[in-house]
Symmetry: C2
């Protein structure tokens, strides 16, 4: 038997990355500054977590220029969407298990 | 405005410790071996996470001898129970927010 928490993937479960995936699951794309402000992160902190998610193939970065301003758009890949859904299913299993045993 | 994931406490949210707290929330106490087997951990890994939880005041360890065998009982403190409840509330807020926006 596997405890529901064993199925959690640290790449997805870590709280900042979980927040990023939750935000991205609701939109087609979000820009760097939106993620940064919504989650109150520093540039460095957000960059680091974006890199982890990008290396795991869960997000795609799109660096564009709008006029002279660089802008980084972030979106979930298909794998990212699946990984986030899997996390929600594991969390629901955890909470369902707790309710069932009370 | 605070995103629900920002309220998550890494001491509680980390997946192994979340599993430990979930198990302990359902029983008065659990012994070291039970936690180790239920979560498929090594002795060292479980000890390390127990130490983090103990230092944060979330669990209490009770080392006893049963005959000649040492046994370590682990139980949630009142603060541990509250911290675990707070985690569940944040996770529910995260999932509720997602459902609401679909």
């Amino acid at each position: 038997m596997t405890h529901p928490t064993q199925k959690l993937d640290e790449v997805v479960h870590q709280k900042t990355r979980l927040g990023m995936l939750a935000i991205l699951s609701d939109v087609q794309k979000a820009d760097f500054n939106f993620l940064k402000e919504t989650l109150t992160l520093s540039d460095g902190n957000l960059s680091r977590h974006l890199q982890v998610l990008e290396e795991a193939g869960l997000v795609k970065l799109d660096k564009v220029f709008e006029g002279k301003r660089p802008r980084t758009w972030v979106s979930l890949t298909k794998a990212g969407r699946s990984a986030f859904q899997a996390e929600l299913i594991s969390l629901q299993a955890l909470m369902g298990g707790l309710e069932g045993s009370r």
